[in-house]
C-alpha cells in the first residue's frame, strides 16, 4: 500500500531524516497561505498515489506570484494516470548541488533486504539499473540483521559523497532503515536525496509502500489518517459495487462474462478464453465457499454489464459445494432472470447434486433455462470455454 509523499515525509521526520520545510494543502487558499509562510521560490507538488508524477507535469517550481497561481490552478485540475489531484505539498525550493538515490526494498529473488544507493539520483532508478548498473551499489541484509554505520559509510564512499558528509548520510540511511523495519515497509525511497549548495543533505522526495498485511501492528497510522487503501487507480462503478459485496472483480475489455470459482482458475480461465479466440469482459473471484446471495450478486454484475454477450461459468467444488452453487444460480434466475446465454460446468464436491437441482428447476420452469447450458464432470473445461466463445460470437 502506497503512501502519499506528505504522509511518508511525516513518518521520515520521526526518524531524524532532514526534509525541506513544507506544508500540506488540501485547497487553493491553503496552498497560497502555505506559500506566503514559506516564502518564494517554492515547489508545488501534486499528491497522488502513483509514480510518474514528474513526467505527467505534476511537480512545478514557482519563482514568483504569477507562476505560483498558475501552478496551483493547473495542478488542482490535473489527473495523473486517471487519478485526480486532491491535495498539494508546498515546499521551500532547494538549491541543488547534487542528486543522490537512497532506497530500501525486499529483494524477492533471494528474500533479503537491499539497501541501495546511487550517485545517479533524481531519475528513474530502474533505468539507471538497466543502462548504468555500475552506478548502483547495495548492501544486502537478512531480515533480522543489524545495519551498521560502517556499511552506510561504504555506500557513501561508493557514490563519491565528500568525506565530511559521511556521517550525515549514515544518519539518514540508518533512519530510513529504522523506519523500514518499524513500519513493516515493502519499499522506502528517497529519490532524490539532495546535497544542497549550502552543503546539507535533504530528502526532497519520499516514496513508501507498506505491507497491507502488517497494518494491524501500527495503530498510530490510523490516527494519522492512514488506512488500508487500494492503489489500482480509478475504479469503475461495477468494481466499486463488487468491492462492497466482497467480490474480487475487475472490468476487462472483452465480451465474455467470467463466472469462475477460485482466483487461480479465474486468471487461467481468461487465458483459455483467449486461446480459443475470445476475450474476457472481467476477472472475478468469489472467495472461498460463497453463499447463494453472493453467487446471485456475481451473476448480477455480469448480467447488468452491456458489454457482456455470453457467460462462462466454472465451479470446482472444493470446500464449497456445487449444490449450494446451483442454488445460488437458480435463485438468481427466478428472482432476476438472465438476459444472456450462459454455458457452465460443475465438478468436485456434490456436482451430481448440483446438476440434479438444475434438472428439477428446468422441469419446473423451462423458460428460465432456455439459454443456459450446464454440464458436469463429463465435459472437459476446455470444451466449455470454446462453447462460451461460440455463444458470444452468435450473440453479436
Amino acid at each position: 500500500m502506497r503512501l502519499y509523499e506528505f504522509e511518508a515525509k511525516k513518518l521520515f521526520g520521526k526518524f531524524g531524516i532532514p526534509l525541506p520545510e513544507g506544508r500540506h494543502a488540501t485547497g487553493k487558499d491553503d496552498a497560497f497561505r502555505a506559500s506566503r509562510e514559506l516564502g518564494l521560490p517554492v515547489m508545488v507538488k501534486s499528491q497522488v498515489l502513483t509514480g510518474g508524477r514528474g513526467k505527467a507535469g505534476g511537480i512545478k517550481i514557482a519563482q514568483d506570484k504569477a507562476e505560483l497561481s498558475n501552478s496551483i490552478e493547473e495542478l488542482f485540475n490535473l489527473k495523473i494516470r486517471g487519478l485526480p489531484v486532491t491535495s498539494l505539498l508546498i515546499e521551500k525550493a532547494l538549491n541543488i548541488d547534487r542528486e543522490i538515490y537512497l532506497g530500501i526494498t525486499i529483494n524477492r529473488a533471494d528474500y533479503k533486504l537491499s539497501i541501495i544507493a546511487s550517485e545517479a539520483g533524481g531519475v528513474d532508478i530502474e533505468s539507471v539499473a538497466r543502462k548504468n548498473p555500475e552506478k548502483i551499489h547495495r548492501v544486502e541484509l537478512e531480515i533480522d540483521d543489524e545495519f551498521y554505520s560502517f556499511q552506510a559509510f561504504q555506500l557513501a564512499n561508493k557514490i563519491n559523497l565528500p568525506s565530511e558528509k559521511l556521517r550525515d548520510f549514515s544518519k539518514i540511511a540508518s533512519g530510513l532503515f529504522a523506519f523500514f523495519k518499524s513500519y513493516d515497509a515493502k519499499l522506502a525511497e528517497i529519490n532524490p536525496l539532495v546535497l544542497t549548495a549550502e552543503g546539507e543533505l535533504v530528502a526532497a522526495d519520499a516514496r513508501v509502500s507498506l505491507d497491507d498485511d502488517s497494518l494491524f501492528r501500527h495503530p498510530d497510522l490510523k490516527e494519522m489518517g492512514i488506512e488500508k487503501r487500494h492503489e489500482e487507480g480509478e475504479l469503475t462503478p461495477r468494481e466499486i459495487q463488487a468491492r462492497e459485496w466482497g467480490i474480487s472483480y475487475l472490468d476487462l475489455d472483452g465480451d465474455i462474462g467470467m463466472f469462475p470459482g477460485g482466483a487461480g482458475f479465474g486468471i487461467m480461465g481468461n487465458d483459455f478464453i483467449q486461446y480459443f479466440g475470445g476475450k474476457a469482459a472481467n476477472f472475478m473471484d468469489s472467495g472461498g465457499g460463497p453463499s447463494p446471495e453472493k453467487i446471485a450478486r456475481m451473476l448480477m454484475l455480469l448480467d447488468d454489464n452491456p458489454q457482456v454477450k455470453a457467460i462462462f461459468g466454472a465451479r470446482f467444488g472444493g470446500i464449497s459445494r456445487c449444490d449450494e452453487f446451483a442454488e445460488g444460480v437458480i435463485k438468481f434466475l427466478k428472482e432476476h432472470g438472465l438476459s444472456k446465454p450462459m454455458v457452465m460446468r460443475m465438478t468436485g464436491n456434490m456436482w451430481q447434486e448440483g446438476v440434479r437441482l438444475f434438472e428439477e428447476a428446468r422441469k419446473e420452469s423451462p423458460g428460465l433455462f432456455e439459454r443456459i447450458e450446464y454440464h458436469g464432470i463429463e465435459v472437459p473445461i476446455e470444451e466449455i470455454a470454446k462453447r462460451a466463445v461460440e455463444l458470444a460470437r452468435e450473440a453479436k
Binding site: 505491507d211 502488517s214 501492528r217 487461467m268
Partner: protein
C-alpha cells in the same frame, strides 16, 4: 512413496480448537490422515474429535512423535506458530491462512532454512498424498494415487490439474500447494528437488501464475531434474498493474510477466501446457 506427507506422517493441527481447525481436522481424519494431536495454548488436556489437545508443539513431538503441522490460526499469530513448530523439530509445516505479514514470513523462511524444515504457504490449500493422507483444506474428490507429482501456487488449479491426471489414469503421487501470498515459505525449486528424489514420481506438473519471480527462480532446479517437468502459467493475457485475486498475482512493468516465465522455463527444458488437456498429451509423447 510420496513426498513430504504419507500415511505414516504424524500430523498435528495448530489451532485445533478454532472453527477452521476443528472442521478440517474432522475432514483430514475422515480421509484417513494420521492426525495425532493438536495445539491450543491454555486448552491442553481437552480433546476434539477424539484427538488430544496440548498447549505446545513440543509436547506433541515428545508425546506423539509429531513431524508434520498444519496451521489454522489468525494471520497475526501464524509467524510465531510456524517458528514454534520449527524449533520443536517438526519437519514440514503447512500454513493455510492468508495475508501473513511479509516480515514474519521472512523470519520463518530463515528459521526453516537453518533447521532443515520445509514450510509451505501462506494461503496454501495444503498437501495431499492420494490414498494416504490429506493435510490442509484440499477437497479429495479429484485425486487418485498414481505416478505424477504436482506443485501449484493456486488451490483451484491444483484441483483442475489433478482432475485431468486422474481422468487420464495417470494419478498423482503428491500434490503440493505453494500458496498465493507474496512471500512464501517454499517455492517451486525446493518442491521440485523433493519430487526428483521420489522414485514413485515419474514426472512433475508445475503451475505458476503472473507476479513474483518464483517461476524464474526455479530454472536451475528444473534444469537439474532427472525427470520431465510440464508447466502451465496463468495470466498470459492479464492486464498489467492489476491485482487479480491473489495478492501475489500482480504484474509490475516487465517483472513477473507470463511471457518471461514461459521463456525461462522452456529454456530450462520444461514442457509448456497451455490447457489442462495438453498435460496427458505431453506425458504420453514423453512415453510416460
Amino acid at each position: 512413496m510420496a513426498i513430504l506427507l504419507s500415511g505414516q506422517s504424524k500430523v498435528i493441527v495448530q489451532g485445533i480448537t478454532g472453527t477452521g481447525g476443528s472442521f478440517h481436522t474432522k475432514r483430514m481424519l475422515d480421509y484417513g490422515t494420521n492426525v495425532v494431536a493438536g495445539t491450543s495454548p491454555g486448552k491442553g488436556g481437552q480433546s476434539i474429535h477424539g484427538i488430544p489437545v496440548r498447549d505446545t508443539v513440543a509436547e506433541c513431538v515428545e508425546e506423539f512423535g509429531a513431524d508434520f503441522s498444519v496451521i489454522f490460526l489468525p494471520a497475526a499469530f501464524v509467524g510465531e506458530a510456524a517458528i514454534e513448530s520449527i524449533y520443536a523439530g517438526i519437519k514440514t509445516v503447512a500454513v493455510v491462512p492468508e495475508h501473513i505479514p511479509i516480515a514474519d514470513m521472512m523470519v520463518v523462511r530463515k528459521a526453516a532454512a537453518e533447521r532443515g524444515a520445509i514450510v509451505i504457504g501462506g494461503n496454501t490449500a495444503g498437501i495431499i498424498t492420494p490414498g494416504e493422507a490429506n493435510a490442509g483444506i484440499i477437497p479429495e474428490i479429484a485425486f487418485e494415487s498414481g505416478r505424477i507429482g504436482t506443485v501449484s501456487r493456486s488451490g483451484s488449479l491444483t484441483y483442475y490439474v489433478a482432475d485431468t491426471l486422474t481422468r487420464s489414469r495417470y494419478g498423482e503421487t503428491t500434490c503440493v500447494g505453494l500458496g498465493g501470498d507474496p512471500v512464501l515459505g517454499s517455492t517451486f525449486d525446493e518442491i521440485l528437488q523433493e519430487f526428483d528424489r521420489d522414485d514413485a514420481t515419474k514426472a512433475v506438473v508445475m503451475v505458476g501464475e503472473i507476479g513474483g519471480v518464483y517461476e524464474e527462480r526455479s530454472v536451475p532446479a528444473v534444469k537439474a531434474m532427472t525427470k520431465p517437468v510440464i508447466f502451465m502459467i496463468g495470466g498470459v493475457f492479464a492486464p498489467p498493474g492489476k491485482r487479480m485475486g491473489h495478492a501475489g498475482a500482480i504484474v509490475e512493468g516487465n517483472v513477473g510477466t507470463a511471457q518471461s516465465k514461459i521463456e525461462a522455463l522452456k529454456s530450462a527444458g520444461a514442457h509448456h501446457a497451455k490447457t489442462f488437456m495438453d498435460i496427458p498429451e505431453i506425458l504420453s509423447k514423453l512415453g510416460i
